[in-house]
Symmetry: C2
Subunit: 458 residues, 2 copies
């Protein structure tokens, strides 16, 4: 066989995986729609100047550039590149469409590309799944993002989540309070690792970055765990207000914002107790300006499933006028990895509920008629199209995981009937075509899909 | 405003267009599924050697290459490129997955990229919409492709189509019969233009290519229009058999194949008379080996909407063993252009059926509660998230095209009721939240979507 390979860091999704991917995407899309988000699609590639300068230097390295092509062949150079995320293209769309009515709520579920070093679970092509609200200032828009993420996680069968909530202004205030305004970046990078390396690890990293013992002690005093949101808000006020002087109003605005976002998220349907104000939540992206949030799934223990925040500066970089924005990104690939793992030993899902087998060449006619009739009745029915012997067709049907096979043997063909064989139990019933469609419809209604039924967690 | 542009030849799809795109994609996907095709997804880019040498020299020019990236930056060179179609990646998948059970029926609806010179209606990124059957030899698989295309066209509301059917072996036989075996390519290229330049144009082109008058006359004798399929088959036999000698069996196999495909397509549900055997159908792609087909929509007059054929050689180029294949590609972008044109003056479709407006800050609570309650009841409900005055919210709601606004003014708030305002008629009713959900649900059931309802043409 000739050597044939995928491009480095990319994947094919074969049908069994695709059924799960499509089920997840459909479900999330339905939730986004329920909340009034509208679909948007942008091209896979953008002009290079649209993408550069938006992601910091590290991001810059990860952009896939596309070779420019002249009329007669390669002229060298690059003026476009594959998108790296869905947020910068959204900002470009808003700038290019000044007539767009704001607030503009959009969802986009689409692949992005990063020239990252491939590793286990890290790919060069992966889906992002974003819902953003452009043109709304207030905490209600932030809360809507929390609510839509919570609804999506519930719809996907992961109801045991917590949403961590913080505000970029609180983090900036903390840097000021410990006398490290000029080192806010390193401070946040260290704190962001708390889950992974613990208090001691973060302390060591801060020390290595030149924070002294008093500063480090103060950081932990500000970040001390609190029993509930009210206590967390009170503690932040108590710690920050005396230390900030005329910088206090900005910190206060951040504290007030997260208090409001938490309350409004509950009003919008996030169950009580799920939103946890957590001043240790830093989140990496430079462009956040206000509340930031992250949904963590506890059971199964899979970590961050969604994250986002307010970014009031990014769109203005394109449009030349300040336009506030807030968004949430769902970790679709992580959801899918968990579902793939969970369903590893389940029978492969198939598109078709039944396959019509061809007994022999003389009975091809009734088999075709059966497939046609079942399809017309709304049953997803495959038809065996090869020329294998009947016994091998049955093997194929079993191997492919079809729940049912429909057979038209000589005695059925004579009487205008079909045999419907349950390939899992082996049971077989002889029916008219109308009865067969009813039988298969009833079986489909009872079957479990790749996701829990709406409203049912499992 | 800073200059912000799309990459050349690319498009954004804003919500109004996206609603139509998603409706069309969902509908086609449902038809593919109905027929037992399974979903497959391949990466946007492939290794260059996977793509090269499969599309002829012209195609080669149109491949977007991606710059290679080393650890520390650009190292120059390219080893991957954006996919140009969905067929070559399918062939690679089959070669890389020798355990795949054949026949393998897959659909894929996804963008492809071509470095074409942009022009009206020609883009560098566009969707292909393919259904292919890999590993089945017979005419039944070809007929299944015709049947699924016919079902898709009907489902999309274009029931007035004809499917032209020919066989590559018949075309080859014609070249041999006119003594131009060595000029089969130029002969087919000229015939392919018949729709555009007519008999005289094609004759002139053939003369320019060195065909003499006797040869040209014979071409038209072979291609003479016939009243029906039986006559077309008889005429081909009468014209070709006496002229081919020991090359006749191959031509005969082609003639027999299209006769069988036409009959089996009817058995599979294509309405009688829709499949038209047409020896002038050439279709461009080099890789076809057997039956070729093209669905043309007569009303509205929009030309070729789907095309495909059998390509028994392509997969073997990757897998090293001959694996037959046949497929059909639906012209999704053309369908969408027709729908965009048809619906140009229709109110913009929105995801949400209603928007809940916020009367004033004091009534934000009941508005939030209304949005939450309607969403929980399965209504797609937006909530106004900005801080505009009520009057401007109403303007926004009208401009965005929401069918309904839900208002909670002081008197409604006091009584625990909401006002549901039909934004098209202006009518307003005051209801409980449960009644409001029922009211909106009933209105939704009655509303027309961007596509005809299944089973209903318009």
């Amino acid at each position: 066989m000739p050597d044939v390979f995928l491009a480095k860091g990319t994947r094919d999704f074969l049908p069994a995986q695709m059924h799960r991917r499509l089920a997840v995407i459909d479900r999330v899309r339905a939730v986004f729609t329920q909340f009034g988000f509208e679909p948007l699609e942008t091209p896979a590639f953008e002009r290079i100047e649209t993408l550069t300068g938006k992601y910091g230097e590290e991001g810059q390295q990860l952009i896939f550039k596309i070779l420019k092509r002249g009329e007669g062949g390669e002229t060298g150079g690059c003026d476009q590149a594959l998108r790296y995320d869905l947020t910068v293209p959204l900002a470009r769309v808003v700038a290019m469409n000044p007539d767009l009515r704001l607030p503009f709520k959009r969802w986009q579920i689409a692949p992005v590309w990063r020239a990252d070093r491939p590793a286990k679970g890290r790919f060069r092509e992966f889906y992002q799944c974003d819902a953003d609200i452009v043109g709304a200032e207030g905490p209600l828009a932030d809360a809507e993002c929390l609510a839509v993420a919570a609804a999506a996680l519930t719809a996907l069968g992961f109801p045991a989540y917590t949403i961590r909530l913080n505000d970029r202004r609180v983090l900036r205030a903390m840097a000021a309070a410990v006398g490290a305004e000029d080192r806010e970046g390193p401070l946040l990078v260290a704190i962001d690792k708390l889950d992974k390396i613990g208090v001691e690890g973060v302390s060591a990293e801060l020390a290595a970055r030149g924070f002294d013992a008093a500063q480090i002690a103060l950081v932990w005093a500000i970040l001390a765990p609190q029993p509930d949101n009210a206590a967390a808000l009170a503690a932040l006020t108590a710690q920050l207000q005396p230390r900030l002087g005329d910088r206090w109003p900005e910190a206060e605005a951040g504290i007030r914002a997260i208090a409001e976002v938490a309350a409004l998220a509950e009003d919008l349907g996030v169950p009580p107790g799920r939103v946890r104000i957590d001043p240790t939540l830093a989140r990496g992206l430079d462009y956040y300006t206000g509340p930031v949030f992250e949904a963590v799934v506890e059971e199964p223990k899979v970590g961050s499933f969604a994250g986002g925040g307010r970014y009031d500066g990014l769109i203005g970089m394109f449009s030349g006028r300040r336009i506030p924005a807030v968004g949430i990104s769902l970790g679709l690939e992580r959801v899918l990895a968990v579902l793939d793992e969970r369903d590893r030993d389940a029978p492969p899902p198939t598109a078709a509920q039944a396959i019509v087998l061809v007994w022999d060449a003389a009975r091809r006619g009734p088999a075709i008629a059966a497939a046609r009739s079942l399809r017309a009745a709304g049953i997803t029915a495959d038809l065996f199209l090869g020329d294998a012997a009947f016994k091998n067709q049955l093997k194929y049907a079993n191997g492919r995981g079809y729940p049912f096979a429909v057979l038209v043997g000589p005695s059925e063909a004579e009487r205008g009937l079909v045999a419907v064989k349950d390939l899992r139990s082996g049971e077989q019933v002889v029916l008219t075509l109308d009865q067969a469609a009813d039988h298969l419809r009833a079986a489909r209604a009872a079957a479990a899909g790749p996701l829990p039924k709406p409203g049912e967690a499992r």
